[in-house]
């Protein structure tokens, strides 16, 4: 047997109802029913062994390094829940077939229902806690879709959103708790976690774990103060309410309490938090339920209250309390599902669920009335019905509290009080709806529902009776197996029987029954129940207000900060970077201990020139041509700095890039205004100067701090191994094409992407340059100066030769693919400048985009080729050949890679320049021709 099948059949089969309905016209309910029964059959096949105490664990490694395994577990407790999910699932499938209106999409309904069912089965059958959390989130998502099934109704949408928000947030808390739990235990497998109870409870993280896990459980199981999403989820179709909000999803939180019972329960914190929340929930919700006028609203609060009861029982931390909790889980699922279905029938047949309008329905639908009365009796805890048995056990357990000291009586008194309210609202459910005078003005004339719509209710109600009358032979084995699996140990003595003699729990039951009847039937002396409109503190309003507040706050902030001015954003970015930098640098000494290098006169001179020129650029930036030329001078000074500081490759690169960049900016200037208009305000200018000075000072201080500190480098490795490993003396080039070849591949790819971006931006762009220059004179009649034209042509082959030389020697002396590519690019660029774009592109007619692509392909293929020899990506190799004349010559695969770099760089430079050169539209050329 494969446990995952139980989960996968509904989960992966979720699309089948729709598919089969569309392809073959098969009723989606039949498909869904068949799938559920198939899954049920697998579970039932194992039920015998599990009832005898067996635990099945099946595991497949998934991401073992994260502790995530696809492992599944079927023990008594999981069996109980799997049975609840599948048996009630079958009944809901049947019931929904008659409940849904013709205009509702049955395909969608059953698909979502199966999805939810698979997720829920995943929660209860997971052995791995991470897997459990994953399925847990899936139940939140699928229940969101089910609650919002009638998506045209605003209520349904809001209810669904609220449920998702609360249970989703709880799911995140649970994930955090589970991660901590796995950290403490060292494993996410339940078997290990359950065996490590003592370790967990003694750990300093125990309280944190407990709170996080309980947040998950309480939000899911609608415990106070997170209960409010459940009543709003009643906007769902009634079969969904019957399934999710009575039997399954809301029980997931309680399932978690039971599942982790051995790991977390039994401490004082556990008792006060869990049973405190349970008690508050039970009392509060049973009181509120009495005042709901909507049938489903009453049932929703009743569900909250019963979930509180179960939580309270788990919170006691005693073995008998835990047995009572498990028993009540079964009983509540059975009677509450049948009551929801009855409410759905009433709604379906009368058109309303408002108890102020319903009355005396027993005369129209006597059989439904009888069924609902029995189920309501079970809810109230009337003897001979299943609810009575677990409630008795609950009352008995309230005396077993060890932590309350002299206040021990609070528990039984509160329990009795909640019992009184439970009886009162159960009575109201039956009396208001089925008894009294005939109803007036109902939307529909009530009558019994279709035969098969009642069958699920009948089955569930007979279960109430069977368990209530003969607990020892019907429910006892399942209860023992489930309770045993929760405890992970031997069960204490207990017996399921109707009569335990005259004792306190019996007295409490009697008080609850009589008191409840009195409260309900004497209500008119206290207040008018039907005229009462409740205005309790509405959790939905609070949470929606909170969300609204957050949205408004975000909008306010965005409006303040984001004023759609890029200028402002740059300022904010710089100021924020400065603020962060200053915060981080507080208390640090600026000057370090390393000995400085002596300066020489030339260095001082170049620095002074660089500083003055840079300041001149900033001061004179409005005169654009001048500023551009000054920037060129700064770039030359930077190249000189590279020469001085032992970086010949960088100096060459900087020099060439400088030429290309200045030409590019000159080209752009043709289309841009020649001068910047004056600044609008001096205040802004002053502000920017201050920001600039602070930024410059800060960076200078940072550079100084860095330079005066001693440092350790891994440079020695590259220096020592460049020749033996990479067969090159030029370490910079060997790093680029060999040691860090993968980085370089990424970098030329980025270059290629930039070129593609430029092409995309230039797509369809035509700009008209000015007809006159900035001093109002016509452009020179001689468009391309003769001297330049004559000189540039022979320069090209010479430059190509230099480029080839630089390329070939690059591995051992300054040069290489980048530099050679820039030299080639510059030489070709010169042809464009000297002869014009039309002339040049006619004679250099290559598609430069393809050159880039070829470069990238060559570089990548060089890397891939090493795979063919079983070596990692981009492993290089080299050998020596003896050529005539040249002599011994070295051939390295890295050279091929360098060729790829060369091609990519040439391609990028040429794409940019040739496209920008061809930018001037025909009109601007023509206007100049006309001058």
């Amino acid at each position: 047997m494969l446990l995952p099948l139980v989960i996968l059949i509904p989960l992966l089969g979720a699309w089948l109802p729709a598919a089969l309905s569309r392809a073959f016209g098969i009723d989606p309910a039949r498909t869904a029913g068949a799938l559920v029964i198939a899954a049920l059959a697998i579970v039932l096949a194992q039920a015998g062994a599990v009832l005898d105490g067996a635990t099945f664990v099946q595991s497949w490694p998934w991401i073992p390094s994260l502790g995530l395994n696809a492992s599944f577990r079927l023990d008594g407790f999981a069996l109980l829940f799997a049975l609840l999910i599948l048996v009630i699932g079958v009944l809901v499938v049947l019931y929904a077939r008659y409940y849904l209106a013709p205009e509702d999409s049955k395909e969608r309904f059953y698909g979502l229902l199966l999805l939810f069912m698979g997720a829920m089965l995943g929660v209860v059958l997971s052995e791995n806690l991470l897997l459990l959390v994953t399925f847990w989130e899936l139940t939140s998502l699928s229940s969101f879709l089910l609650i919002g099934f009638w998506r045209h109704q605003a209520d349904a949408r809001r209810g669904a959103r609220l449920a998702l928000m609360i249970t989703g947030a709880g799911g995140l808390a649970l994930l955090a708790g589970v991660l901590l739990l796995g950290h403490v235990v060292g494993s996410f497998e339940l078997t290990q976690v359950l065996a490590s109870g003592a370790l967990i409870k003694a750990h300093p993280l125990y309280e944190t774990i407990l709170v996080l896990v309980l947040l998950g459980a309480f939000t899911k199981s609608a415990q106070f103060p997170f209960h409010f999403w459940l009543p709003h989820a009643m906007a769902a179709p009634t079969p969904v309410s019957a399934y999710l909000h009575s039997a399954t999803m809301v029980k997931a939180g309680i399932f978690l309490l039971g599942r982790l019972f051995p790991a977390l329960a039994g401490t004082e914190t556990w008792f006060f938090v869990v049973s405190g929340a349970g008690l508050a929930t039970q009392l509060f919700a049973s009181y509120v339920a009495l005042f709901r006028h909507d049938l489903k609203g009453l049932l929703a609060y009743s569900t909250v209250s019963h979930l509180g009861l179960v939580t309270l029982l788990f919170g006691l931390g005693t073995p008998l309390g835990e047995i009572a909790a498990v028993f009540h889980i079964i009983n509540h699922a059975v009677f509450k599902a049948s009551l929801f279905m009855a409410a759905g029938i009433i709604d379906h047949e009368t058109g309303t669920r408002d108890m102020r309008r319903l009355s005396g329905l027993a005369r129209y639908m006597p059989w439904t009335a009888a069924l609902a009365t029995i189920a309501a009796g079970a809810m109230a805890g009337v003897p001979l019905l299943n609810g009575f048995l677990s409630k008795e056990m609950f009352f008995a357990e309230t005396f077993q509290v060890q932590w309350l000291g002299p206040w021990y009586w609070i528990m039984p008194v509160a329990a009795t009080l909640a019992g009184i309210f439970t009886v009162a609202y159960s009575t109201r459910f039956v009396h208001d709806v089925f008894f009294g005078p005939a109803p007036q003005g109902l939307p529909k004339t009530p009558h019994e529902p279709p035969r098969w719509m009642k069958v699920p209710v009948e089955i569930l109600v007979s279960l109430c009776l069977l368990v209530g009358l003969t607990p020892a032979i019907t429910v006892d084995p399942l209860l023992r197996a489930a309770a045993g699996a929760v405890l992970q140990g031997p069960l204490p003595e207990f017996s399921l029987s109707l009569w335990h003699g005259f004792n306190l729990p019996l007295l409490m039951s009697v008080v609850a029954l009589v008191g409840g009847a009195i409260v309900y039937f004497t209500r008119r002396y206290h207040f008018d129940l039907h005229g009462y409109t409740q205005r309790p503190v509405d959790g939905r309003k609070i949470s929606e207000d909170a969300v609204g507040c957050a949205v408004r706050g975000a909008r306010w902030l965005v409006e303040r900060v984001a004023n759609h001015s890029l200028q402002r954003y740059v300022l904010l970015l710089v100021v924020a970077a400065l603020a962060l930098g200053f915060t981080g640098a507080r208390g640090l000494t600026i000057t370090g201990t390393a000995a400085p290098t002596p300066a020489d006169g030339l260095a001082v001179l170049v620095t002074v020139a660089l500083v003055l020129t840079a300041i001149a650029v900033a001061a004179l930036h409005a005169k654009r041509l001048l500023a551009l030329l000054l920037v060129g001078i700064v770039g030359l000074a930077v190249s000189l700095a590279f020469v001085r500081m032992s970086a010949p490759d960088l100096a060459l690169t900087q020099l060439l890039v400088e030429i290309v960049t200045v030409l590019l900016l000159l080209l752009a200037m043709y289309f841009l205004p020649a001068e910047s208009p004056p600044e609008s305000s001096r205040a802004r200018l002053a502000r920017d100067v201050i920001v600039a000075v602070v930024a410059g000072g800060a960076v200078a201080a940072l550079a100084w701090a860095l330079l005066t500190r001693p440092f350790e480098s891994i440079a020695w490795y590259y220096l020592e191994n460049a020749k033996p490993e990479g067969s090159g003396y030029n370490v910079v080039n060997v790093i680029l094409v060999d040691f860090r070849g993968f980085d370089t591949l990424g970098e030329i790819t980025v270059l290629g992407i930039a070129a593609v971006g430029i092409l995309a931006l230039l797509q369809g762009l035509k700009l008209d340059g000015p007809a006159l220059d900035w001093e109002g004179r016509p452009w020179a009649s001689e468009r391309y100066p003769l001297m330049l034209r004559v000189l540039s042509q022979p320069l090209l082959p010479l430059a190509l030769l230099v480029s080839a030389y630089l390329f070939l020697r690059g591995h051992n002396a300054p040069g290489g693919g980048f530099i050679a590519g820039l030299v080639t690019g510059t030489a070709m660029l010169l042809q464009y400048v000297a002869q014009g774009s039309a002339w040049a592109s006619m004679r250099l007619p290559w598609n430069y985009t393809r050159v880039i692509a070829a470069g990238l392909l060559v570089a990548t293929a060089t890397g891939l080729a090493s795979w063919a020899f079983g070596a990692p990506f981009l492993t290089s190799t080299f050998g020596y050949v003896t050529w005539p004349v040249v002599g011994k010559f070295e051939l390295a695969s890295a050279m091929l890679f360098d060729l790829g770099i060369y091609l990519a760089v040439v391609g990028v430079v040429m794409v940019i320049i040739s496209r920008l050169g061809g930018l001037a539209g025909p009109s601007s050329i023509a206007s100049r021709e006309g001058q």
Binding site: V611, A614, H621, L665, A703, T708, L719, N730, I758, L761
Partner: protein, 108 residues
């Protein structure tokens, strides 16, 4: 030398930032160019100042400069060119789309 380098980097950063805060695309381009000089120099000298040497191991020198920042900065210079070109084209496109060279679009 260290003080000279730090001053140069600081001045390049300051003037670069000042120009980047201007309202027109062309000065912003110039500012970015100056700022990339500063960033490249900073990265480069993270290998510390070594004068009168070169990372060429056949020279048989006593001290070599750190070749790693040099390799990083070499590609940074080339990519910086690609970035400048992209911004130039963006500025030209912006003229067509907004009718002006103000960085916030249009004439303000």
């Amino acid at each position: 030398m260290e003080a000279l380098v730090a001053i140069a980097i600081g001045v390049l950063t300051g003037t670069g930032v000042f120009l980047m805060l201007r309202a027109r695309t062309f000065p912003v381009l110039l500012g970015l160019t100056l700022l990339s000089y500063a960033v490249n120099l900073f990265l480069f000298v993270s290998g510390r100042v070594v004068v009168a040497s070169a990372p060429l191991t056949d020279l048989g020198l006593a001290t070599y400069p750190d070749p790693i920042p040099q390799a990083l900065v070499l590609t940074a210079i080339v990519i910086g060119f690609g970035m400048t070109a992209l911004l130039v084209v963006l500025a030209l496109r912006a003229i067509r789309e907004t009718g002006g060279d103000h960085v916030d679009g249009g004439e303000r």
